[in-house]
Amino acid sequence: MIADAEAPSRRADALLAAALFAIDPLNTRGVVLHALPGIEREAWLGALRKFLAPGAPLRRIPLHISDSRLLGGLDLAATLNAGRPIAERGVLAQADGGVVLLSMAERVSKPVAARIATVLDTREVLIERDGLALNSAARIGLVALDESIEADEQVEQLLQDRLAFHVDLTGLRLQDFDDRDFSPAQLEAARIRLPAVRSHAQIETALCATASALGIESIRAVLLCHAVARAAAALDERDEISQADAALAARLVLAPRATALPSFTENEAAPSPGENQAQDEQQDQPSDEPTANDAPDAASAPESSSSSVAESGDVENSSADSDQSLVDVVLAAAVAAIPSGLLAQLKLPATERSRASSNGRAGALRKSFQRGRSAGIIAAEPRDGVRLNVIETLRAAAPWQRLRRLESEASRTSGTSAARLQIRRADLRINRYKQRSQTTTIFALDASGSAALNRLAETKGAVELLLNDCYVRRDRVAVIAFRGRTAELLLPPTRSLARAKRSLAGMPGGGGTPLAAGIEAAADLAETVIRVGDSPTIVLLTDGRANIAFDGSNDRKRAESDSLNAARRIALAGFRVLFIDTSPRAQPVAERLAQAMRAVYLSLPYADAGALSGAVKAANISAASVVGR
């Protein structure tokens, strides 16, 4: 790991975030704490614990929490004991007035994230379940423990968006947390002072302008930033938000959310030679194969200069995929956007990982056991979020009541308040649900030069029509494009047609035909799809003229044998494939490939997009019968 020159200020910021959050958990909403489990994270959490108001509850939400534990529901044991429904408060309501830790936040499913988000917004838990209607206060702050390593793991946007602080502990060491600290008394004083802290229009204007300049759309970010500025003023024992507070809040809250560079850049921080070198090394690494080691390194890379932005010129591209340039963007933007009085104080840390490209990933992959059509009732204990069917349970218990009463009276001498209903473990019934398996259609598109020459535009048109069908069937779609040397997943499985449309529109064409890589990528994705319980259909659109081998070398022979091998892998796995030959005339090569992968082969002599769609629709039916699925 690179020596981290910025560690002292990053450590200070991480601790500061903990302190500011502890001053006002309710309005700053929370922290996304990006760190792998370990002593560093424990040290940060320990500091937070010390900072929080004495007696404030601190609860932890495990990954696969059930709704009844999260929100509350029927307390089974108490209900059976008392013979009447007894409600149980969930973790969120129990943590009222305190802080909730969300374990492995990057893996939390969207439904759970949405429930937590609602509670953060409304500050109460509203439940309508298990025959109960409850409304309990839940004024909480949330710490989302983000243990993601790769870029495709992200805390749900709807949570990230609501949490003020995005703290990254990667690269910090335990001893970093030893010195500079805040005393609990100091924080208590800040909490008391907080309601009296005034704000004024200039501060709000500055924050809004900064957010706009950084391309931050959500107004929630500015609200959070404002709350943080207020907490900062309270911590500094002032009754009015100062420029310094606003700058601090912009650095902590807005900088990590920046998505754009303002129209001009300013050469603020001159890079030292060492930093430049580190930066060069980073750029030399292949960017599309992030390894486990790569990500933290990139995240902890030193602050860089705005001059590299000027060099690279194309800000749009670099900001999307490189942490390094995002930092540049943020730095330059904040420098430019904040009124001149704030300029001196504003130094942005180089620690934030890119959040710009994460706009909505594929929907929640895990299935709950609680949805779908009812598929009958079985005798089992409710656990892991499976719902108890109370009526069926009672029904099962009912015939035995007289017998059991006699039994218990015989065994009990005093006969103290025998429960009205005697329910045994064997009576418990749960609902079973059948969940329709979704189809995910994977489009693997040949965007190479030869295909582009033929008709990339028409292929795109055809895919768009097919997407239309997918929309009608509520399928999920994914798009893989292969060109040049590699295949690229343009769009992970999603139900959002808007995104599919965008990924297609932005797809470039040209270059070689790495057909083998394309087929492999489609097969890999199909396997992932099966793992999450969906059934994949691959639609491969190519002219079949492979000229780039799997390893990226320019060897037509190897390219062809590689793609045949990849095709056989697909046949072995038994995926449903439609092979659409996009070349002007039917190709024997393509047909051979289609046979090898046991695909339905469609050759498309100059047909318009509409005819193509019709052909695929027909093939879809025959494909189903061919593969026999």
Partner: protein
């Protein structure tokens, strides 16, 4: 009871506010679907709506809050009373705005066996659910696209028929459930089924205000609200009351608002040029325009009203061409310009 941000204090978002007010004036317009990015105040507006609605007259003791004036739509108990010609007492109730929380179970939505009474008294009784509570009011579903499918189906069914039929757990109950369905969602998080979309009368899209001035006032007001909720609500209550009077006056005026034949024709040709399916589009256009005229205190529907409501009334009814680059709102606006001139 949580204190909600006052409706009148919401900055901008004219389209959404108008749509909500239209349904408050004329529930027959149908529900409102609010699409928008995160943090644009979707939920805030709906929750603030509750405070605006003029109270409604209801039969005392009726657990569905039946309207004494509406004998045809009364629940079974009220009907039995009506048959006996008993004099019925009435009282004023706040219009329900019911929140359907994520994670709600079906039994609480449709109503179910009252467990407590079964267990303690051995009586089989029906406990009304959220649909009963929302009768004559609003049912709000935040993040509709995250709602479980079977619940969505159920909502569609009840919203369309205006009646909730419960056949479960040995119960057989039917009761009126006419409510305005308000949904909100983020299109980035998954699409809605077209069947569901079609049930909404109006569909509005909200976005974060772009200009600095309104962004600053959003921050200011939100900040004042968070710091002293009671005071802030009191401060804005006068504005809220003004809107409340506007709704009440518009309701009275509604039946008298004239819809000229020429307007009906124009609405029909707009729908034809856009190729919307069915007559629902025209009906919604006419009803929404009438409610808009009533809100503005006018007695006659004009093209100006059509311009105001055409996009929200039609944008979700266009034959879906998911890959047309221009949004459907743009297409409606284009057709409108062709029809009426710029």
């Amino acid at each position: 009871m949580a204190q909600h941000f006052p409706f009148s204090a919401i900055v901008g978002q004219q389209e959404m506010k108008l749509a909500l007010l239209i349904t408050a004036v004329d529930a027959s317009v149908g529900g409102v679907m609010v699409f928008g990015d995160r943090g644009t105040g979707k939920s805030t507006a709906v929750r603030g709506l509750a405070a605006l609605l003029p109270k409604m007259r209801a039969v005392v003791g009726c657990r569905y809050g039946c309207d004494p004036a509406d004998e045809a739509g009364a629940c079974e108990e009220c009907r039995a009373q009506l048959a006996q010609d008993k004099p019925r007492k009435t009282h004023l109730l706040p219009v329900p705005v019911v929140d359907l929380p994520l994670g709600a179970t079906e039994d609480r939505v449709v109503g179910a066996l009252d467990l407590e009474r079964v267990l303690t008294q051995g009586v089989k009784a029906f406990e009304p659910g959220l649909l009963a509570r929302a009768h004559r009011g609003f049912l709000y579903v935040d993040e509709v696209n995250l709602l479980e499918d079977h619940l969505v189906d159920l909502l569609i069914d009840v919203a369309a028929s205006g009646e909730n039929v419960v056949e479960r757990e040995g119960l057989s109950v039917r009761h009126p459930a006419r409510f305005v369905l308000i949904g909100s969602g983020n299109p980035e998080e998954g699409e809605l089924r077209p069947q569901l979309l079609d049930r909404f009368g109006l569909s509005v899209e909200v976005s974060t205000p772009k200009d600095l001035e309104s962004r600053v006032s959003v921050i200011r007001r939100r900040d004042e609200f968070e710091r002293d909720r009671a005071n802030f609500i009191a401060h804005w209550s006068k504005e809220d009351q003004k809107i409340q009077r506007q709704i009440a006056a518009a309701r009275k005026r509604l039946a008298a608002v004239e819809v000229p034949d020429a307007f009906v024709e124009r609405a029909a040709s707009l729908c034809m040029s856009l190729g919307t399916d069915g007559l629902r589009g025209e009906l919604t256009l006419i009803r929404a325009a009438r409610a808009t005229a009533a809100l503005h205190g006018q007695m006659r529907v004009t093209d100006a009203h059509l311009r105001q409501i055409a996009v929200p009334a039609l944008r979700h009814r266009l034959r879906r061409s998911p890959l047309d680059d221009s949004g459907s709102g743009v297409r409606v606006a284009r057709a409108l310009t062709e029809l009426l001139g710029a």
